[in-house]
Structures are given as structure tokens and as C-alpha cells.
């Protein structure tokens, strides 16, 4: 009977490893996240859990379902393109072997980004520009640059949030559902049995 203990220990170790592996819960879904910056759309693609989708195909469609352009994600899972047309853009990521994700950028989102740029352009020249000896465009560039730098971590955070794997709550919830279904099934079967029993009486 020594073997029983052996296998129990082995199984315990094995389950322990599995649980510790699941602690870093990486899972099985691919995500694409896209945002507008100026006249370009930037996308990032990840498998949930953080593995980047490298070399995956990205297709961009307009509102009518017409394909506008096609590209591949780079080694960081990102891909960017110039906005080809003012319309709702449906960005489809095709990571192969049945993995697919979508992200839609609405026309209003693009308009907003463009509109901001336009209003900035027509805005009256500020007094500071004269004082500092900097042109309007240079200031604009500086602002854009620093905004980009500051917003980068927030964008990254959003990307990570998008790619977040299932939480413990959802796992427990699912197991709870299965147990509940078991209860329902047992209830109906036990009723059937009872009814069957009554027939015999």
C-alpha cells in the first residue's frame, strides 16, 4: 500500500503546481485595442494574460464592410495606420487558428480627434509665442510630445485592462453555476423518480 501514498503525494504536488501556474492566470483569448492619435490609428494586440500577438493579421473595414487596408502586427503586437477615410472603422485582428478580435472606432471619435486639431489650428495665436520666440506649430509640437509622453502609461494601462484575464470572482461564479445546474438536474430527476414511485402505489 506504499504506492497509494506515493501517488497521493504525486497528485498533490501536481495539483499544487497547477494551482501555482494558474495563479499567474494566463488565458486564451485575443484582444485588440485601438485609439486615435491625430490622423493615425494605433492598435495593440495581446492574448489575455499579456502575451503579445506578433505577426498577426489586422484588417480594417469601413461601415459598409468594405476592406480598407490590411497589415501585420510587429514584434510588440502593435500596428498603426493613417486613417484612410472618415467613417466608422471596424478593426479586425486575425491571430490565426481561430483567434479573432474586433475593435470599432466610431466616426465621431475620429471627428473629435480631427476637430481638435483643426480648432487648434484656427485658434488665435497666443501672446506667449511672441515672448518665447517660438512659433505656434513648435508649441503645438511640444505640447503633443509631452502629452504623448504623459498619456503613454495611461494608454498602456488601458491596454492591460482590456487584456485582463478572468478574475477569481468569475471563476467561482462559473463553478457556482455548475453546482446550481447539478442541483436543478438532481431535483428534476428526483421528482421523476417520485412520480414513477407513486404510479406503482
Amino acid at each position: 500500500m506504499k504506492n497509494v501514498h506515493g501517488s497521493v503525494i504525486v497528485i498533490a504536488i501536481f495539483l499544487g503546481t497547477l494551482v501555482s501556474m494558474s495563479a499567474t492566470a494566463l488565458a486564451h483569448k485575443v484582444n485588440i485595442f485601438a485609439w486615435v492619435e491625430g490622423d493615425r490609428v494605433f492598435t495593440e494586440s495581446k492574448f489575455s494574460g499579456g502575451k503579445k500577438a506578433k505577426g498577426a493579421q489586422v484588417l480594417v473595414f469601413d461601415k459598409e464592410g468594405q476592406q480598407l487596408l490590411e497589415g501585420k502586427t510587429d514584434s510588440k503586437g502593435s500596428f498603426s495606420f493613417r486613417i484612410p477615410k472618415l467613417t466608422d472603422l471596424r478593426i479586425v485582428l486575425n491571430a490565426g487558428t481561430g483567434h479573432r478580435a474586433e475593435w470599432t472606432i466610431t466616426e465621431s471619435e475620429i471627428r473629435q480627434a480631427w476637430y481638435q486639431e483643426e480648432t487648434q489650428e484656427v485658434a488665435p495665436p497666443r501672446q506667449v509665442s511672441g515672448n518665447l520666440g517660438l512659433g505656434k506649430e513648435e508649441i503645438q509640437e511640444l505640447i503633443d510630445e509631452s502629452l504623448e509622453r504623459r498619456l503613454r502609461p495611461i494608454v498602456n494601462m488601458l491596454v492591460d485592462l482590456q487584456a485582463k484575464g478572468p478574475s477569481m470572482t468569475e471563476v467561482i461564479c462559473g463553478i457556482g453555476y455548475i453546482m446550481g445546474l447539478m442541483g436543478v438536474a438532481l431535483y428534476f430527476l428526483s421528482r421523476r423518480k417520485k412520480e414513477g414511485g407513486n404510479d406503482h402505489d
Binding site: V4, V10, A27, K29, T97, M182
Partner: protein, 206 residues
């Protein structure tokens, strides 16, 4: 190995759903009150297994546990896997509702095949044979699922051999791990609760 929403064309989805419905109705007919808790436990195991990512290999892969599901449940693994996949689709956004049928078939059918192939062998009195068939059961179930997934992707991705190669290679580590898990389960159940393994010799419910 979940196929995402929007990859497959309607005929494939409908065929998958029809096959799944057939498998589930066979499973439900064989449902015995005493089996229900076991179905629920294995369904939970399948549900959670998808969170256990195997960090080896080029792609994103996770455990499946359809071999042990099939071995212990036979046709009942159809309802078991359907429930688990539905919950994965709703709660984790793995797969999806429209692809539920085809995904169920891809995971559960290999389980049933392995049940017919190995459920007698795992109860063999020679330990080597029973353990080896336990390993083969876990290994083969994942392999067959990979082949079925590649088959269902033929219409979407063109080349079958290319897709099959990609998926099978990506899942090699999973096959080996699942083979070992099934082997340990067989070894454990044989000592602790051998009647669970005697699936095929059990009397039919009704």
C-alpha cells in the same frame, strides 16, 4: 483551442450545432442521477482548466481535460463540456455563443472516442497497460481535438495541413501534460474508487 466568434461560416456553425445537439441528446439519455455530481465535478474541472496556461511553445495554449472527461463520463461528456464552454463564453469571453456547438463537438467528440478506445484498457489488471492507456487517453483526446479544430477552420483559413500542423505543434506540451494528468487520475482512481473507471461495464440507467 476555442474558436472565436465570427471566424467560421454559417454552414460550419450549423453543422457543429447539429452534431453537438445529437451528442448532447445521447448524453442526456444516458444521464443517471448517480452520475450527475460526477458530471458537475468534471464540468467544473474543464471550466477551470482553460485558465491554466501552459507557457511552453509558440502560441497561447491551456489545459483542456477532455480526455479525462470522456474517459469517466462517456457520452455524458457532451453535456458536461457544453455547460463548461457556455460558462467560459459568458464569463471569460473565450469562444462565444454562436460557436458553442462546434466547440462542444471539437472538445467532446474526442472524449467519447477515447472512452470507447480506453475505458476497457484502463481497468486492465496489468498496471503497465492501464497506466499507458491512461496516458494515451489524455494525449489522444487533445490531439484529436486539434485535428477537429483544424478541420473546422478549413473553410476559414484554407489549408488543412498548415492549420493542423500549427495547432498540433502548439498543443504538444498540452498533450503530454494531459497524458500525465490522465495517467495520475487513472492510477489514483484505480486504488481509491475503481468503480468510477468501470464506465463501460456499468449497468445502463434506463
Amino acid at each position: 483551442m476555442h474558436i472565436s466568434e465570427g471566424v467560421l461560416s454559417a454552414p460550419v456553425l450549423v453543422t457543429g450545432a447539429a452534431l453537438a445537439a445529437a451528442g448532447i441528446s445521447v448524453g442526456l439519455k444516458k444521464m443517471d442521477p448517480e452520475k450527475i455530481p460526477q458530471v458537475a465535478v468534471l464540468s467544473s474541472a474543464f471550466f477551470v482548466a482553460s485558465l491554466i496556461h501552459v507557457p511552453i511553445g509558440p502560441s497561447s495554449v491551456h489545459l483542456i481535460l477532455n480526455g479525462i472527461n470522456g474517459l469517466l463520463l462517456g457520452w455524458l461528456c457532451f453535456p458536461s463540456i457544453l455547460v463548461a464552454l457556455a460558462l467560459q463564453a459568458i464569463l471569460f469571453q473565450f469562444g462565444g455563443i454562436t460557436v458553442l456547438g462546434i466547440n462542444t463537438v471539437n472538445m467532446a467528440l474526442p472524449g467519447v472516442i477515447c472512452y470507447y478506445l480506453f475505458s476497457r484498457l484502463v481497468t486492465h489488471e496489468r498496471k503497465v497497460i492501464s497506466l499507458a492507456s491512461g496516458f494515451a487517453c489524455g494525449f489522444l483526446a487533445v490531439f484529436l481535438s486539434a485535428i477537429l479544430v483544424a478541420l473546422s477552420l478549413v473553410w476559414a483559413e484554407g489549408s488543412f495541413t498548415e492549420a493542423a500542423e500549427l495547432i498540433v505543434v502548439a498543443h504538444l506540451p498540452v498533450m503530454i501534460i494531459e497524458g500525465l494528468i490522465t495517467l495520475f487520475c487513472v492510477a489514483f482512481l484505480k486504488r481509491v474508487k475503481p468503480e468510477l473507471l468501470g464506465g463501460r461495464h456499468e449497468k445502463r440507467a434506463w
